[in-house]
Every structure is written in C-alpha cells, then in structure tokens.
C-alpha cells in the first residue's frame, strides 16, 4: 500500500504511523454530556468502504496527514495535510 504524502510523494505504508479515525468530532470541552463523550471515545462505525483517517509520515517528513482510504481495497482516494484541513475548520483528533 502506497500513501501519497502531500510533501514527499508516494511512499510505502511502512513509513507511516496510523493515528486513528478522522471523522469523529470532539464534544465541547466544557460539555458534561456523558453520551457525547462516550460516542467520541468508543463509537466507531468501522465502514467497509471509504474511510477518513489520520496518518503521520513518521519515517519521512513527519507531517500529520488525513488520508481517504477504501477499507475494502486499500485504494487511497486522497491525502492532505491535517494542518490545512484543521485551519479550514475540519475535524481535530
């Protein structure tokens, strides 16, 4: 499996470290809604198909990136710097 790092170009998956689901949304830190926190910490849809996830190019440029990956085929549909997406109001881990 190759991941197209936005800085380095396509690299072997072994250079990357998986950092988790990039679709979950952290509740407001002031929230005391137990169900919202439970969902944030534990609930994962685990889709068979396209999935959005954080990876870090740990054996390369060290950037954190968001990768769109098909969990059935391992086809990578896109990759972008996590910092750019966060700055555009995207989700944070």
């Amino acid at each position: 499996m190759l991941i197209p790092c936005p800085h380095c170009g396509p690299r072997d998956v072994q250079e990357f470290s998986y950092q988790g689901d990039a679709t979950r949304k952290r509740p407001d830190p002031a929230s005391t809604d137990v169900h919202a926190w439970h969902a944030y910490v534990y609930d994962r849809p685990n889709p068979a198909g396209p999935h959005r996830e954080y990876w870090q190019h740990i054996g390369g440029c060290r950037a954190h990136i968001v990768v769109e990956r098909d969990t059935l085929s391992h086809e990578v549909l896109g990759a972008a710097f996590a910092s750019d997406l966060s700055n555009q109001g995207g989700t944070r881990p």
């Binding site: 936005p6 380095c8 690299r11 250079e15 054996g59 390369g60 440029c61 060290r62 950037a63 700055n87």
Partner: protein, 195 residues
C-alpha cells in the same frame, strides 16, 4: 568548542572490501560538515525562510517540496513541509541566527546530533535502493533535491549532491549500526571506504 569524535569507531575500515571483480562499485565516506542546522518555518513562512537561508548561505534555495541546493561552502534541502536541513562552516549557526527573524521560524543546531555519510559511484543508486523504499533514479530524484525517509527505524535525510553521489544524514547514536548495514549492502557491488 567540544571536539566531535566519529561515532563509526572501529566499524570505519578504510580500503577496498567486498566483491571487487568489477572494481569497487561505490565509495563510502563520512563527510560530516562543521555545522548542521535544522531551519523550521512558522505556518505560511516557508518562502520567507527559504529566502533567509539563501541570503545567509549564498544558495539558490526554493521553498518547493523536496527542493535543495548544493554550493561550495554550504548545502540545504527540504526535509518536511516547513523545514530545511542546512549545512555549512563553523559560522553557519551565527549567520543563520542573524538572517532568520523570530517571526519567520526557528533554528536548531544539530551539529552534534547528526553525521553525514556519503555514497558515491556508479552503483550508488543500486546500493541505496536496497536500503530505502524510494526511487533513486535521476529522473525521480534530481541533483540537489532532498528526501526524508527511513531504513527500518533509522531516519535518513538524503540529498543527491551529484549525478552519482548521495549524502545521508542520520542520527549520531544510530550511525554505526546504519554504517554496518550500508557496508553489508555494498558488499555485492564492492566498496571502498575513503577518508
């Protein structure tokens, strides 16, 4: 200043080794420069940082991904989205400190933390291809460009400093183990360790 001692120790064996039927295919050397500095830009400041580093070193340095420049006295190459590895003489850190304003980025002197190993010669691409999962062909990795990659857990920041010459910057504490891997990978092509 504290004198640096090569971490390669007894593993550094000058002379010709391995399969020499076609002559040594590569020359291996330690080429650690007097100064190694990591320059990191704040978000949106990479172009400004590239200009500042260029001003301090006389290099024509671009802010594009993987870009680099090789000069007589200094080298620099991209090692990440906002970062360059810069090498030069004893005055490099002072020059960069002068040239890079606080609002542009930060500097970290790595002169005692990294060493540089040179792989040169007609089989250099072939030997390095055994160790790293990146494309070393000249079309994919042109002269002066840089790549950040890893051999298992050993991070390596690599600059192509000539048509058949690569300089690899590795952590000092892992350098001897990596050097031994490099020598083993070079056995088949034959190698000459040069001072």
């Amino acid at each position: 200043m504290v004198e640096r001692i090569s971490p390669l120790g007894a593993a550094f064996r000058p002379g010709r080794h391995g399969n020499l039927t076609a002559g040594p295919g590569v020359q291996l050397a330690e080429v650690t420069p007097p100064a190694i500095v990591e320059a990191a830009a704040w978000p949106g400041q990479k172009e400004a940082l590239a200009r500042a580093v260029a001003g301090a070193t006389g290099l024509a340095l671009s802010a594009l991904p993987n870009a680099g420049a090789v000069g007589e006295q200094a080298t620099a190459f991209s090692i990440g989205p906002h970062r360059f590895l810069v090498t030069g003489g004893d005055d490099l850190t002072a020059r960069l400190t002068e040239a890079v304003p606080l609002e542009t980025g930060t500097l970290t002197d790595l002169s005692h933390g990294r060493i540089a190993l040179r792989v040169a010669g007609p089989r250099a691409e072939w030997v390095l291809s055994k160790l790293f999962a990146i494309d070393f062909a000249a079309a994919a990795f042109p002269v002066a460009e840089g790549r950040a990659t890893a051999h298992h857990d050993v991070l390596a920041q690599i600059q192509r400093t000539g048509p058949d010459r690569f300089d690899l910057f590795v952590f000092r504490s892992l350098a001897r183990a990596f050097w031994e891997s490099l020598c083993a990978a070079s056995e088949e092509a034959g190698y000459e360790v040069v001072r």
